[in-house]
């Protein structure tokens, strides 16, 4: 088993330096490459446990690369290198593994990052759910970039680069026995491709965060609390695909709490909003970009929605995951 797995990984990564690096217990990367681009190292990790492994327009491999690339990118970093740790359930189909690993390699290439160190562990049948992937990533943050989650200020606008909730809805339909079908696809994408040129033009962006687990609602609550501000969302402005909306109405879910994998929240000072919006909309990953809210005032940190009718409602972080409901 281990040998077959090693072969898969070597064959798929063979145009990256992984082959030679794999002989060592660690990748050795010239620091000059980092210092040439900035003054801080960004370092992040995520484990990916998605079911099913393959879903509309993506798979766990693509997700694992995008997720970590995005966590680097939203910190203002240029993502450079990834690690990949695989936990494999004994008996997984090799074809499946191969296609996932090659999807990782392809996504990494697209995102301009290199997978330079890795690990595989095989566990007994029944001890894992087919495949878990951990990716960690390092990148470099240019000196002039200072984005952080606590930097939102009253007057700033909230932008998103795309539709809300597509990934969560698509995966829920692929996973659960709900009998629902749609052409909805995951939005999974490496956001560094969008963020890199954006930051070059709009370095004053206050903060960014990819709206993964918990969705836009949770991410904005985190920003509001870290920055001690109130965020207002304009409900009619939220870009939600009709299919996602329909799934949410059928199952009684809130799209703002569905996961996204290629959509982030951007907190942008008012004077750069126009420019940022134009830049985003002219990029393939930002065509649906919109201003969806604003920072209204300093506070303990809260998020509310202004409804189409002039009412407001709070957007509290929900307790636990959303379950489909009938009432």
């Amino acid at each position: 088993m281990q040998q077959l797995i090693d072969e898969i990984f070597l064959s798929v990564f063979d145009d990256t330096p992984l082959q030679s690096q794999l002989k060592e217990d660690q990748a050795q990367l010239p620091l000059a490459e980092f210092t040439a681009h900035g003054d801080r190292l960004a370092f992040t990790t995520d484990s990916f446990v998605v079911t099913p492994l393959i879903f509309p327009c993506g798979d766990i491999g693509k997700l694992a690369v995008c997720g970590t690339v995005n966590d680097l990118a939203v910190g203002g970093a240029k993502p450079l290198y990834l690690s990949a740790g695989f936990i494999i359930e004994e008996g997984i189909e090799f074809k499946l593994l191969e296609s996932i690993v090659s999807s990782m390699a392809k996504t990494a290439q697209q995102a301009g990052v290199r997978i330079v160190t890795g690990d595989t562990k095989v566990v007994e049948r029944g001890m894992a759910d087919q495949l878990f992937i951990n990716t960690s990533g390092v990148g470099v943050i240019p000196s002039r970039i200072q984005v952080k989650v606590s930097a939102a200020q009253p007057g700033d606008k909230i932008l998103v680069n795309g539709f809300i909730g597509d990934h969560g809805a698509a995966v829920m339909l692929a996973r659960e026995n709900l009998g629902l079908y749609s052409d909805l696809r995951s939005d999974c994408a490496p956001l560094s491709l969008l963020i890199h040129p954006l930051l070059a033009q709009c370095p004053q962006i206050r903060c960014m965060r990819d709206a993964t687990r918990g969705g836009l609602g949770v991410v904005l609550n985190e920003i509001a609390k870290a920055s001690q501000v109130t965020i207002e969302l304009f409900e009619p402005e939220l870009p939600i695909r009709p299919q996602t909306q329909a799934i949410c109405e059928i199952l009684g879910l809130e799209p703002l709490f569905l996961a996204n994998e290629g959509m982030a929240a951007f907190v942008v000072p008012a004077q750069q909003v126009e420019q940022a919006l134009q830049l985003m909309q002219s990029h393939p990953l930002g065509q649906q970009a919109k201003v969806v809210g604003q920072v209204t005032e300093t506070s303990q940190g809260m998020v509310y929605l202004s409804t189409a009718y002039g009412g407001k409602r709070m957007l509290e972080t929900p307790y636990g995951v959303q379950l489909p409901r009938i009432c």
Binding site: N177, L178, P236, E249, T307, Y309, G310, G311, E316, G320
Partner: protein
């Protein structure tokens, strides 16, 4: 959703709010108190807050949030039964997502699942039939909750299973019927209210005509409403108009879906499968005479209670009392955020009372939508 969007039109909403105010304000002035309107249905409670209607509707109208959430009122004993069955090793326990978080005396279904019970969330009882067919060596149990709206689907699924000779599917039924619950509320006379916004989807099954006793015996007007903002406001407007004009009628502001007689096939499915008029104890409501149903003798093979045969659920363990506040909220004497436990000891994560249990509960709606 062509049919939905027009009923969410914001200029329409603005117009309706203005109309309501024009009628309600003078009336409240005249009566020297706000008009007390009960929206029976948790779906309406939800809509009021979700669309921010609570902030648009004039202060001259006060909502009393009715008992219309079948999850909130689910007794602890029902959850204990469900957990007991779900933990049997040959059982696949299926349920709508709603009751999974409701605390039982020992644990919730979600906790039982975390501890290894095979519990699956389904969208439809039809899917439980398929599951039973695909797992012939398992007992599939469907946790059947809900008001009159949901009962026909359960009844029909049971009949389908019977017809197809499926012998490994059972239903654990804890249905609550709307009319007996409303009648008990009115009979108690503890609630000060002027009229009802009637539930759209229960009405689709039972029909508008079913509400006549409310108008006739208790002299309260009721207008059936859909769940879009324009639907709800239209019904509210018609209700206020009745009050202003001193009328007391059952009106139907959701006629595209609800008829006078309701869905006769659905009613028949219910009466084929269930015996009517069972007294039942509900969380936050106490014993409500005739408010529930049970599976008929001839369909006993489909009753999941059979799987409880030898299990005596200890009485002491189910003696967890609701704090008195919930009842006061249900009777319109307290707003949820006036309850001293609200957002302190009582939260969606750790609900102390029925109304915080489900997202449809009035206290949960306040918690999520109204802020601190």
């Amino acid at each position: 959703m062509m049919l939905t969007s027009v009923f969410r039109d914001s200029s329409q909403v603005t117009k309706q709010v203005k109309l309501i105010q024009t009628v309600a304000d003078p009336l409240a002035d005249k009566w020297g108190r706000p008009l007390q309107i009960m929206e029976v249905c948790g779906g309406h409670t939800h809509a009021i807050f979700k669309f921010g209607l609570d902030q648009l509707i004039p202060k001259s109208i006060e909502f009393i949030h009715g008992p219309g959430c079948p999850v909130c009122v689910l007794p602890i004993e029902a959850i204990d039964q469900a957990v007991t069955i779900a933990e049997q090793s040959d059982v696949i326990f299926t349920s709508f997502g709603d009751p999974l978080r409701v605390p039982g005396s020992k644990k919730s279904l979600l906790k039982a699942k975390a501890q290894g019970a095979d519990i699956q969330v389904l969208y439809s009882p039809l899917d439980a039939i398929a599951l039973a067919k695909n797992n012939p060596d398992k007992q599939v149990v469907f946790f059947a909750i809900g008001f009159d709206t949901t009962m026909p689907s359960i009844a029909f699924s049971l009949l389908t299973a019977a017809q197809q000779g499926i012998n490994n599917l059972r239903f654990l039924c804890h249905h609550i019927r709307l009319m007996p619950t409303l009648m008990a509320l009115l009979a108690g006379e503890k609630v000060q209210l002027d009229g009802f916004v009637g539930p759209g989807h229960v009405s689709m099954v039972i029909g508008a005509h079913a509400y006549q006793p409310i108008a006739k015996r208790y002299r309260k007007p009721l207008v059936i409403a859909g769940f879009e903002p324009v639907d709800f406001l239209q019904a509210l407007y018609q209700l206020i108009l009745q009050l202003a004009q001193g009328r007391c009628e059952i009106e139907n502001a959701y006629a595209r879906v609800v008829t006078a007689e309701g869905n006769l096939s659905a009613q028949q499915a219910i009466s084929t499968v269930f015996d009517d008029g069972v007294d039942s104890q509900w969380r936050g409501l106490g014993v409500v005479p005739g408010s529930s149903v049970k599976i008929k003798e001839c369909y006993q093979a489909f009753d999941a209670r059979q799987l409880l045969n030898n299990t005596v659920l200890s009485q002491s363990s189910v003696e967890i009392k609701d704090p008195g506040y919930c009842n006061a909220v249900l009777m319109g004497k307290l707003k949820p955020d006036q309850c001293p436990l609200f957002r302190k000891q009582c939260t969606p994560e750790n609900p102390k009372g029925a109304l915080m249990v489900s997202g449809e509960g009035a206290c949960a709606a306040y918690y999520y939508y109204k802020g601190t």
